[in-house]
């Protein structure tokens, strides 16, 4: 499936305008791009964990979706879609429906890394034919930027504030993509917005059309929570990738593969310095926090290179 941008852009947008996401919200870009990877002839049911995305894209009586949509609660999006997928299988068997449906769940890091983790793990283990997409903006943005297990170490969040004795969050980010891969899911990938979206598009297509429970972790910047000017989103994403803070890779049937390798790995400051949530790290006396972050990013990057080399 080659990525033919000229063709893709002619597809009808499956996420309509008029939703109430913040100006410049990364979630909107994630949803549009993932749904664009659907074949035009296929129908979809979009599932959603309670989140910014949910309260913004379906505020009665206004749905932003071209496709069917279901939201039930915060912690159970994967289980809810498991039921939809099971219904599809039986109704198809009974000949009650002819259309081909694809099942795509969107959850934030709160609904995916944290409160929805049990439900996600259960659905992955049962292997329902669906895609779970985490739009990861590294904190509970919907309720006002509280820390999540996805929030990186030292980030300033409203429940892990930078103070006189503590420089922001004390724990490192949970490596959810690796945890999902450990479930033995047939396709797991990590990505964000880069260049002409080829990487995200192709991963979304593979995730949607690989049978079984697949997973996409998409870094989706939040201008309000990360404290940068909304228009700088493309640069923030690029720096996350070029510093290896957010590596782009995929795990296909247990085979790990880098999908983008920076020509020259940039120092983490490049990424951190552009965001208010890390501002305190640049105050005199806090140099060690940047060193620690660099060490951790290097370690995780080496781990990833090792995993990928083993399959080469």
């Amino acid at each position: 499936m080659a990525y033919d941008l000229k063709k893709e852009v002619n597809k009808k947008d499956r996420l309509a305008g008029g939703h109430r996401l913040c100006a410049g919200c990364g979630a909107g870009i994630t949803v549009r791009t993932v749904l664009r990877a659907l074949k035009e002839e296929d129908k979809a049911v979009v599932g959603n964990a309670t989140s910014c995305l949910e309260v913004s894209t379906f505020m009665y009586p206004y749905t932003a979706y071209e496709d069917s949509y279901i939201h039930t609660a915060f912690e159970n999006a994967a289980a809810t879609m498991s039921g939809v997928e099971a219904a599809y299988n039986v109704l198809k068997r009974k000949g009650k429906i002819q259309d081909t449906f694809k099942f795509i769940v969107f959850g934030g890091d709160g609904g995916t890394y944290d409160i929805g983790f049990q439900s996600l793990s259960g659905a992955l283990e049962r292997g329902h034919d669906m895609v779970y997409v985490c739009y990861d903006n590294e904190a509970y943005m919907n309720t006002g930027i509280q820390r999540s297990s996805s929030t990186p170490r030292f980030a300033d969040a409203t429940t892990s504030p930078a103070g006189i004795s503590l420089p922001g969050k004390q724990q490192n980010k949970k490596d959810l993509t690796a945890i999902v891969a450990a479930h033995g899911s047939p396709y797991v990938a990590q990505t964000t917005f880069l260049g002409n979206m080829k990487d995200l598009h192709e991963k979304a297509y593979k995730a949607i059309y690989t049978p079984g429970a697949t997973f996409l972790n998409v870094l989706s910047p939040c201008p309000r929570g990360w404290r940068y000017e909304a228009e700088n989103l493309p640069e923030i994403c690029k720096l996350a990738v070029e510093t290896c803070v957010w590596p782009m890779f995929e795990v296909e049937d247990g085979v790990w593969r880098l999908t983008y390798e920076p020509k020259k790995k940039l120092p983490v400051e490049e990424f951190l310095s552009k965001q208010g949530r890390f501002a305190h790290m640049f105050k005199p006396g806090n140099e060690w926090t940047i060193e620690e972050t660099q060490k951790y990013v290097d370690k995780k990057w080496e781990e990833l290179l090792y995993k990928c080399s083993r399959n080469a």
């Binding site: 941008l5 000229k6 063709k7 852009v9 002619n10 947008d13 996420l15 309509a16 305008g17 008029g18 939703h19 109430r20 996401l21 913040c22 100006a23 410049g24 919200c25 990364g26 979630a27 909107g28 870009i29 549009r32 791009t33 894209t57 379906f58 009665y60 009586p61 206004y62 749905t63 932003a64 979706y65 071209e66 496709d67 917005f193 002409n196 979206m197 201008p223 000017e229 909304a230 228009e231 700088n232 989103l233 493309p234 640069e235």
Partner: protein, 105 residues
């Protein structure tokens, strides 16, 4: 018997409980298009067609699906839904989009 409304366009904050859809369901697509989020805009993107090379990055990065495309060519902005975030301006390699204060010419 009271008439139940079937379309989002007929449902508003004056609708009675008898008129709302059962279970707060909506059974038509993309009703959010009825909402004018263009009102949120402080800065407004201006499309300079002559500079545009149709690379489509503005279309791809728009969170509000406000860059209409026809036959692989982008058209002028959908100002009813564009919130003026400015991402299209920064992502454009050809300076084909400039941001101006809303209301300014």
């Amino acid at each position: 018997m009271y008439e139940r409304k079937r379309h989002a366009r007929d449902i508003n904050e004056k609708s009675t409980w008898q008129e709302l859809t059962v279970g707060a369901e909506i059974y038509e697509p993309a009703t959010s298009l009825l909402v004018n989020t263009g009102e949120w805009r402080v800065n407004r993107p201006v499309f300079l067609e002559e500079k545009c090379k149709q690379c489509m990055l503005c279309f791809l990065y728009c969170p509000d699906s406000s860059v209409p495309v026809k036959d692989s060519k982008r058209l002028d902005f959908d100002y009813m839904h564009c919130k003026g975030c400015g991402i299209c301006m920064t992502v454009c390699p050809f300076d084909a989009i400039k941001m101006v204060k809303e209301g300014a010419e």
